[in-house]
């Protein structure tokens, strides 16, 4: 049985189309990433799958249970961590956790092993009110509460947005551990680099799916030649590369510019072009694309259609 089956889901808010006919499947036990910027439809999809929102059209099921008819069954086996902190701010850390355990008919001690690694980090503050925790600690408490009834499937809506690079790395280590216990994880993120930490991803943009596959397969489907180009003046380099006749796209990526071309380049040709434009410290290297390169390429194709 699939962890999630999604058929032709549509959802609009007045004139704004949030989801325009989305279909995909999530396998049991995988970390499945919904990758896309704000407005891609990630939150709407998660809210539909967690039975909190009705789709306008289409069906979805979680472990065979329909999100509308069998919503009670889904709520028993799903853990959900919304994008906005929504625990009780006026209850303490400990009270929040006990409360969530009791509404699911379990106790903290029964499933403590599942949250131990995460909860230990906030346990010294267990008497503190949840509203007075730092961002990182709130996130750990929310995850603990979402896990305390030992869910089969965990929904995480942008758990790492606005979180610094170090805490993001730690959070993903936690997710990998949960995957090993057998929990299916559906996680959304606007950070493209996190796609490579998922088993499979759906790339989403403005309510549409750009692609659904493993990160490796998505990268394998990239259909241009890609080069990392360097020179002293990054901004001028971007502008000049865009005027090069073989360029499909030129975008900054960290300290280099990623140049996509239709066909293989002779490096000397590009070197000469840039020298004539007055660039210094030029370096050109053929590279493998990352998920972000693929995402931008798919976005461009979608716009061309």
């Amino acid at each position: 049985m699939k962890a999630a089956e999604i058929h032709n889901i549509h959802k609009s808010y007045d004139e704004v189309k949030a989801l325009g006919g989305i279909s995909m499947q999530v396998e049991k036990g995988e970390i499945f990433g919904l990758i896309g910027p704000d407005g891609a439809g990630k939150t709407s999809l998660i809210r539909i799958l967690t039975t909190l929102l009705y789709p306008d059209q289409g069906q979805a099921s979680i472990f065979g249970m329909d999100t509308i008819r069998d919503f009670k069954g889904i709520r028993k086996i799903a853990g959900y961590m919304p994008g906005r902190f929504s625990l009780y701010q006026d209850l303490s850390v400990e009270e929040n956790l006990n409360f969530y355990a009791s509404i699911f008919g379990t106790t903290v001690s029964e499933n403590y092993h599942l949250i131990k690694d995460i909860y230990q980090q906030i346990e010294p503050f267990k008497k503190r009110l949840a509203g007075r925790l730092s961002g990182g600690m709130k996130q750990k408490l929310a995850l603990s509460c979402a896990l305390i009834h030992k869910p089969d499937i965990l929904f995480l809506d942008e758990p790492t947005t606005g979180v610094d690079a170090v805490s993001r790395k730690e959070f993903w280590e936690i997710l990998k551990n949960l995957e090993e216990v057998g929990i299916t994880i559906i996680v959304s993120t606007p950070y493209m680099d996190e796609a490579e930490l998922c088993d499979r991803v759906a790339l989403m943009q403005e309510g549409q799916l750009l692609d659904v596959d493993t990160p490796a397969n998505i990268i394998g489907k990239y259909d241009h030649e890609l080069y990392a180009v360097e020179s002293r003046e990054l901004h001028q380099l971007i502008k000049d590369l865009r005027s090069f006749d073989k360029t499909v796209s030129a975008f900054p990526f960290g300290d280099t510019v990623h140049l996509a071309t239709q066909e293989k380049l002779r490096r000397k040709e590009l070197q000469k072009f840039l020298e004539e434009k007055g660039h210094e410290g030029i370096a050109v290297q053929s590279i493998e694309p990352g998920i972000e390169d693929c995402f931008m390429n798919l976005m461009r194709k979608q716009n061309d259609e």
Binding site: E15, V16, G36, P37, D38, G39, S134, G135, G136, T161, G162, V163, D164, A165, V166, S167, R168, K169, P190, Y191, M192, Q205, E206, L234, H235, I238, F251, P252, F253, G254, D255, E292, F295, M296, M299, R300
Partner: protein, 242 residues
């Protein structure tokens, strides 16, 4: 970039009770420089930005922005800076043009210059034909570019950008950086925070805050060599973990 300092901070300390949020910060930022102000959540970035913008007073130390002292003349600082963030940007229930008029008025621009700047900035974004649209239904990427244009409408000497590209799609994120480059080339100093470490590489200078102190400050290229790391992301992880 020129040699003229637009921001000068010397031994800036900010305490909340016993907690020291900013611990003896000292740095300078030049005219036209793009400074990436980095640090983990809770490292003290927001506290420092509030002081630099003149909305919070330091406990001790000297802070001067655009030639004005942050303790004596915070109001003068506010007139000479622009500010935008993901959290505070434009009014969703006004049109693009109304937002420009509102903020232009707050900045004290004349009607004529509001009209001229609105036209000039919107044409540069290729959004002039949408000027009578209500903001609410516009794509996030447009809103962020518009918010940036509003923040530079009164020709501020310094622009503070607090996570301006958070949640924005990868293409728009890069277009946004081209706006930053253009503003810098016009001589505006840019003070920017971000959680996208690739964006840190686009800055002339990066500052890395850990537990209230600046632990590293310099050109990305030089810092990477100094610490023997490949990217600013690796540098961040190396410094923030210690």
């Amino acid at each position: 970039m020129t040699n003229e300092n637009i921001i000068e901070v010397e031994n800036l300390v900010k305490k909340f009770g016993k907690f020291t949020a900013n611990d003896r910060l000292t740095f300078q930022v030049k005219k036209g420089e793009i400074l990436g102000f980095l640090g983990a959540n809770g490292a003290g970035k927001t506290t420092a930005i509030k002081i630099l913008c003149g909305i919070s007073a330091p406990t001790s130390g000297k802070v001067s922005v655009a030639g004005f002292d942050a303790v004596k003349h915070p109001e003068k600082i506010k007139q000479n800076i622009g500010y935008m963030s993901q959290k505070f940007s434009l009014y969703d229930d006004l049109t693009i043009r109304e937002n420009f008029r509102l903020f232009g008025g707050i900045y004290g621009l004349s009607r004529k210059s509001i009209r001229q700047r609105t036209e000039e900035l919107l044409k540069r974004l290729e959004l002039y034909e949408y000027r009578n649209r209500i903001l609410e239904a516009l794509p996030l990427g447009w809103k962020q570019k518009l918010a940036f244009s509003v923040a530079i409408m009164h020709h501020p000497q310094v622009v503070f950008l607090d996570e301006p590209t958070s949640g924005v799609d990868p293409v728009t994120r890069r277009q946004f950086w081209e706006l930053i480059y253009e503003a810098s080339e016009e001589g505006k100093t840019i003070f920017v925070t971000t959680h996208y470490m690739d964006e840190a590489e686009y800055c002339d200078t990066v500052s890395m805050m850990v537990a209230g102190q600046i632990r590293a400050f310099g050109e990305p290229r030089e810092l990477k060599t100094e610490y023997g790391v490949k990217s600013v992301n690796d540098l961040f992880i190396k410094l923030a973990r210690n």
